[in-house]
């Protein structure tokens, strides 16, 4: 991104203070979201989300694996994000690793629960096949194709859409397996179980510029931010994860205020997302 002049910086900050941003939006208005599902035919589920010039793809692949000894009745989920050099020249080679790592960790905090697996947004107990022996491992991969700010929200939306699009093949376990041996499994090619995403949260990032916070910042606005808080909220209005980025300190009362703002905004976002996902799936079924 080319550097901004002092005049441009003042324009952005002044606009936000007066509730009119550079593209005409109000502070709490997000950009229109465009969702397409089923974009990667080789994956179990996939989605592509566009928010303005930000373009991300998420894919879900399911493989059979062994549950951990600590949680024999749960499947495993791995989330990984990669920043493609097509998004910015500085992501070439290993340049994008830092940002990819930051995004991956933030997504894991928001979507997968604590170390014991409690409080996870993604239901992992539905992924077990044979308790203690066989479970589904979900590999969720995010790819940033084009970056214009608000990558975390876009990736969260893409993962939610990809999970809605995911079909886990039905597995028939051969009866009569005993003790420590691995049971024979027959993975069906025909029947699929749709993954339940009603509890998957959506992520809302509030970026603080000057004295106000905005939803869905573009990369120019993000360059002016003092700090940002990303909150993941599910349909019930419960907070599933919280991450604060940026160097400036925030007063605790401001954080509480941001959280309540995020809850209202996330309600709209989840509704928009769900209707877009439903439309995308319906469109995909027809074609």
């Amino acid at each position: 991104m080319v550097g901004l002049s002092i005049g441009e910086k003042h324009f952005i900050q002044g606009g936000i203070a007066q509730d009119i941003r550079s593209d005409g939006r109000k502070r709490l208005t997000p950009r229109p979201i465009n969702v397409k599902t089923g974009v990667i035919s080789q994956a179990n589920g996939s989605a592509r989300v566009r928010m303005g010039a930000t373009d991300v793809i998420a894919s879900v692949k399911a493989e059979l694996g062994r549950p951990t000894a600590l949680q024999p009745d749960k499947g495993k989920v791995f989330i990984n994000v990669d920043c493609s050099p097509t998004a910015a020249p500085m992501f070439e080679g290993r340049g994008g690793e830092e940002l990819s790592a930051e995004l991956s960790v933030a997504l894991r905090h928001c979507l997968l629960g604590g170390k014991s697996g409690s409080g996870a947004g993604i239901e992992v107990s539905s992924l077990v096949v044979v308790e203690g022996k066989i479970c589904w491992d979900l590999y969720i991969d995010g790819l940033v194709v084009s970056s214009d700010g608000n990558l975390l929200d876009a990736l969260g939306a893409a993962i939610k859409a990809a999970l809605s699009n995911t079909g886990i093949p039905r597995v028939n376990v051969a009866a009569g397996a005993s003790g420590d041996e691995q049971p024979e499994v027959d993975v069906s090619d025909e029947e699929f179980l749709q993954f339940d995403t009603s509890k998957v949260p959506a992520i809302v990032t509030l970026t603080k510029v000057g004295k106000h916070y905005i939803v869905d910042a573009t990369s120019e606005e993000e360059s002016q931010m003092s700090s940002a808080v990303s909150i993941s909220v599910n349909r019930q209005g419960h907070i599933c994860g919280l991450t604060k980025r940026g160097g400036a300190g925030l007063d605790p009362s401001i954080i509480l205020d941001m959280v309540s703002v995020a809850k209202t905004v996330s309600e709209q976002l989840i509704n928009t997302l769900d209707s877009q996902i439903a439309a995308a799936e319906a469109g995909e079924d027809e074609s």
Binding site: M1, V39, I40, S41, Q42, A43, S46, A53, D55, I57, S59, K61, E63, N80, D82, S84, P85, T86, A87, A88, P89, E92, G93, R94, Y139, D141, L143, V145, S146, S147, D148
Partner: protein, 241 residues
């Protein structure tokens, strides 16, 4: 295993001389100077071009021409089995080099001294022929960026299985162990810029297979020209003339 049935149909129902369905679109990455998506069957590739811009590494700057750099990356989910290391492995490095050399031959680098042109190619889905799809996508992206070129560069692959020359191999046919010829040409100038082959072929059969690949490249070039023409018409329409 039979790759061409007795009726003359391949595994996916194509005839031996038939290419997969191709689709190209310009301007998919807003932030890039030029970008394009190119699909050949199930192989899907995005190319983005940044440049001409100032050289980042002064020691590499060339005073009489532009520096062309290229990076080829595959997404984690692009292949059937999930890849663990999408960048930096030897195959990616080799393909980056191949694409760079192919595009450098056709870009008029002497018109832009002391600058750098970056071509980034990202594979979203790999089903054979990724090299060719990348070159075709890069050509479209360079055109979208307005970078002066001597000619388009188009690429296509061809092979030889069950005693039949086959055009545009997919992944299954590519891994069958027969010969795989990848060709890149500048259609108007009628010059070959890329020629790679693995496995072995008798010389007369090689000539047939190469001729088939040239036909494939010319077909891709016709399609790319249509896409560019349509894009120019749209630009003119938006300009209001």
């Amino acid at each position: 295993m039979e790759y061409v049935s007795p009726e003359g149909l391949r595994l996916d129902g194509r005839r031996p001389m038939e290419m997969r369905q191709i689709r190209g679109e310009i301007g998919v990455v807003d932030k890039a100077d030029g970008s394009a998506v190119f699909e050949m069957g199930n192989t899907k590739v995005i190319a983005a071009v940044y440049g001409p811009r100032e050289v980042q590494n002064r020691s590499q700057q060339m005073n009489d021409r532009a520096l062309v750099r290229c990076e080829y990356t595959m997404a984690n989910f692009s292949t059937g089995d999930r890849m663990r290391k999408p960048k930096g492995d030897r195959r990616s490095t080799e393909i980056s080099l191949v694409i760079r050399q192919t595009m450098e031959a056709c870009i008029m680098t002497h018109l832009m001294p002391r600058t750098q042109i970056d071509i980034f190619v990202q594979v979203l889905q790999a089903d054979g022929g990724t090299r060719s799809a990348c070159i075709n996508a890069a050509t479209l992206a360079l055109s979208d960026a307005g970078i002066p070129m001597r000619d388009l560069v188009t690429s296509c692959s061809a092979g030889y299985l069950n005693s039949t020359p086959l055009l545009d191999l997919n992944y299954v046919e590519d891994s069958a162990g027969g010969a795989d010829v990848t060709l890149g040409i500048m259609p108007k100038l009628d010059k070959v810029t890329l020629l790679q082959m693995d496995a072995k072929l008798p010389l007369d059969i090689f000539e047939n297979v190469m001729q088939l690949a040239i036909e494939g490249c010319k077909a891709v070039a016709t399609y790319i020209r249509e896409v560019l023409l349509e894009n120019t018409k749209q630009l003119e329409y938006r300009r209001g003339t």
